[in-house]
Symmetry: C2
Subunit: 305 residues, 2 copies
């Protein structure tokens, strides 16, 4: 279902609403329904993917989530069972936030080299942050959407070819984004997501331009040779600052946070899927994830048609 | 701290205590103290490992846990910060139970091929199941211990050389081992771990002998050529049945669950570390993990001295 960021839904005066929506660029966001949990969204995404590829032999199923149904077992186990996949399958949950598509791709590309070439690896990115947002924290609530995506990694020469990945971490920024009371550590804070927006914003502006430039120089590319930069959709304000700092054209930097919000690790693959029909063979795409952890990463793909 | 499985601690009559301890073989288990969370155990384990290897350059830090401090961010982020590791580091939590060392090793070996050869990858296996065990579920409580281990994966020709890994899953057995009320899905069951012991036992006896035989035949080995089988320490009864089914000698199958219990994904690396001093160069070791998910896997290593 869709939740509008309007003044009455958020319970704030019109003036505050205008300021929030103008700054973040998020007008509405998908939100999981009362009986919908992460594994339900993940299963639906994977089922849709596999329906479009009826002969896919799944050798690995990895779910990236920070909002699992249970701590034990992982969401991937439930999805494996619901999809009735074969027992000869590598099944694992990984936990990362807004960098989770990039780190997940890095993991699956590495793992896939150890599987028989006819087998595909499926990466699901699925989260329901709405269940952990504090109702009174309006400035954070307006940002996040719930979503799931499923992507196939195979050796078939179609779609996007993986070229490069480099990921980074700074655990000294652990406290900048924490869901208190969400698992086993006790806390004297109110339960729910606590985000130090300024710290996260400063981190993104400090680290992401350098990571992008490193990926370019590692591959002998300049910014003009990247057809699309698929930035994690933190919000419009962050994206605008990155565009400015890196000297990118607006045409290179698509956005969808106006109607998706920040869908955590699903954000990059959702935007990537939207942009695929616009690509030509040979186009280079850079995906950039960053957020909680702190964690960030850059991956390069070539569209092969 | 250590918790004894004695009748008064467990609050059961002497007769029941004798039956439980005789069958499971677990006499005492390590249990996390009141202020000790998974990230604290994980940090201590990694700190100990790196103190013994002062010049290790860490390129990846992966924590396998099902009992994180928080859902957001992962335990690995906190440990990365506490260890003051460099930003140029792949940092990720993975969620698996008793198969977690085998699947973790498979993941790290695959990832490491994409890093510069001088960099090490650290795998931490850490859990505090005691916080999720229901006090009234004595037959499950007596089995599980809390622990953390840290293992280094490097290209240096020392210790154990990774030879082979094959992992499996059966999500149709998802309900056989669930921690209700532990994350976001609501439940009308009492919160805590629910284990269908009979289902897990039958699964282990059905699947593990075949997985062991497949690993042997894939590598042209017979059981006599394996110096040590490091089985996940579910309990003595399960191990005895596996020994019998596979026709192994007791000398090949060390155990430590009498004083460690079942320490989830830390179980295999703890027993492996105990056995290392007994190995000779050229010895082949088979590690076997199995449990919640359902998930299982077999890895082969050669001791190179």
């Amino acid at each position: 279902m869709t939740e509008q960021n309007d003044a009455s839904t958020l319970g704030v005066p019109d003036a505050n609403y205008d300021r929030i929506v103008r700054k973040t660029g998020v007008r509405s966001r998908p939100v999981a329904g009362p009986g919908q949990y992460t594994s339900d969204l993940a299963f639906a995404a994977a089922k849709g993917l596999l329906a479009a590829r009826p002969h896919t032999e799944v050798g690995a199923l990895v779910v990236c989530t920070q909002t699992p149904d249970h701590l034990i077992p992982g969401v991937s186990s439930r999805v494996h069972g619901l999809l009735e996949l074969p027992n000869d399958c590598f099944v694992l949950d990984i936990n990362q936030g807004c960098s989770g598509f990039v780190l997940g791709a890095q993991t699956l590309v590495a793992l896939q080299k150890s599987f028989p070439t006819e087998k595909s690896a499926i990466l699901i990115n699925a989260d329901t942050y709405s269940r952990l947002l504090r109702p009174d924290d309006v400035t954070t609530r307006v940002l996040f959407g719930d979503a799931a995506t499923a992507a196939e990694f195979s050796t078939r020469p179609e779609g996007l070819r993986f070229l490069y990945c480099h990921s980074f971490a700074d655990g000294s920024g652990y406290d900048a984004f924490v869901a208190h009371g969400s698992a086993l550590r006790s806390s004297d804070q109110p339960s729910g997501i606590y985000m130090d927006g300024t710290a996260i914003f400063n981190f993104a502006l400090r680290e992401i331009p350098d990571a992008v430039r490193l990926a370019l120089s590692d591959n002998g590319l300049d910014v003009g040779q990247i057809r699309k930069f698929i930035f994690h959709q933190a919000n419009s304000f962050v994206t605008a600052q990155l565009v400015k700092k890196l000297g990118l054209s607006n045409e290179q930097v698509p956005e969808n946070c106006a109607y998706m919000g920040n869908t955590v690790s699903a954000s990059v693959p959702i935007l990537l899927a939207e942009q695929l029909p616009l690509l030509q063979p040979g186009d280079i795409v850079m995906t950039v994830g960053f957020g909680v952890g702190l964690s960030w990463g850059v991956a390069l793909f070539e569209y092969v048609g």
